[in-house]
Symmetry: C2
Subunit: 258 residues, 2 copies
């Protein structure tokens, strides 16, 4: 009997919500090569990080928003979506998790705040190859056309080669026409940071409130820093792990003899 | 003229909310050695991770809940609290951030979900020595008495020695009487994970909802794994960093020639 050929199963999520334009090009590309299970937040969940919902119940509602693809929107966070996706897929474990395409960069330390990347990190934690994709344009009308080629290339490679256990990919794509993107660079997370400030305002009842604002600064010009390469027109891939231990610091702390 | 002696400034936050019993022993200990600025969430923000509030304004309300200490409760997340604390402290930059004492363990991969630890990680990102403390007892009536000795010892050491840039400490304290705690061990994050499931229920309107539930599993018995040492009666310290790059994977990905 011939071996059954079976399409892989890809779980698709994002943090901008299931109606965000960025998820569509991702669905288009991976829908050509795999069966899909789409579970994305009902509403935008940007900068929600690795939050999960444990003190309230979750809702998961089927939707035909993605045509032939099995899809749900969920009341929770991106990590909740991933966990519900794993539950919903039952015995057919997904071969890959893709998250995005995020409206806006998740380069450098933004990985910490990103719901898009938190879903991918959670995937790594569960031992499933996972990729977060982001386009460096926050606009709802951003042009995701040039992303498709890179999504396809990276997804196919990961399906073929797999990823090391505990590692997922953080992919950022410059906001440039396809012809101006120089290629792909494997990078490390740049040591950049937000210089925060707050805009103090008075509400109509004369009570103070604060808007977080600020600007992102990078003084890390290393040749492997993701931000530098992204600014230079490359798609950047940072292998990202859930182990946050500063292994190099263990020896020094042991010298404290606490 | 004699040199002015000045007490350090310590910023105190948590994720269980400003009225959570666990913040009080922390305030008691650090209040003896430093000036305090307390900014904690108005309500519990457990498992909120590194979420920040950018699409809504924040409120920060002064409170005399902590007696003589300058204190506010804040409508946002623990990381919002840290950021507002930095803003509020103005030119007097805090010498140390302490977050907790959390009601419940933040051992192993729980660091990813933890608001307590996210505030500390954000501190590291801003270049300020930061420590998250957790007691392995979720109960609101947990006994924090035995924690005080270890909080004092670790805080004093960090004030004295500082911490390497980019590194904060994740301290977990076993739920044992002081006499049964064996000491302090410097550890790495154990490779443990949540085996999730969902409890499916029907609401009174006959619509389905889901509660996240599950159990935490550890198959990592390494002598430096935090969970093992905590289970064996030690206070564990994991040096924790905001760099999530899987540096060891860069070489392998480069071989893909993408």
């Amino acid at each position: 009997m011939p071996k059954m050929s079976k399409r892989p199963l890809i779980l698709v999520t994002n943090d901008d919500g299931f109606t965000a334009p960025g998820i569509q090009p991702l669905v288009d590309v991976v829908g050509d090569i795999a069966d899909l299970l789409i579970i994305a937040p009902a509403k935008p969940q940007s900068v929600i990080g690795h939050a999960i919902t444990v003190n309230a119940p979750l809702r998961m509602t089927p939707t035909d928003y993605f045509g032939k693809h099995k899809a749900f929107y969920c009341s929770g966070t991106p990590v909740d979506c991933f966990k519900l996706g794993m539950y919903e897929s039952g015995k057919r474990k997904p071969n890959l998790i893709v998250s995005g395409i995020n409206h806006g960069s998740n380069v450098s330390t933004n990985v910490l705040y990103s719901g898009t990347m938190s879903a991918a990190v959670e995937g790594a934690l569960e031992g499933i190859p996972s990729i977060g994709f982001s386009l460096c344009d926050h606009d709802w009308s951003a042009n995701f056309q040039a992303c498709k080629k890179y999504v396809k290339k990276i997804v196919n490679k990961v399906l073929e080669e797999g990823l090391e256990k505990g590692v997922c990919l953080n992919v950022n794509i410059p906001d440039l026409p396809a012809s101006e993107i120089k290629g792909i660079k494997v990078c490390r997370q740049a040591r950049a940071y937000w210089d925060d400030t707050f805009d103090e305002r008075m509400d109509p009842l004369k009570k103070k409130y604060y808007w977080l604002t600020g600007s992102f600064h990078n003084h890390d010009n290393g040749s492997e820093a993701d931000m530098v390469n992204l600014d230079n027109g490359y798609v950047t891939i940072v292998p990202t792990q859930f182990d946050m231990t500063a292994h190099h610091a263990i020896g020094q702390l042991n010298e404290w003899n606490l």
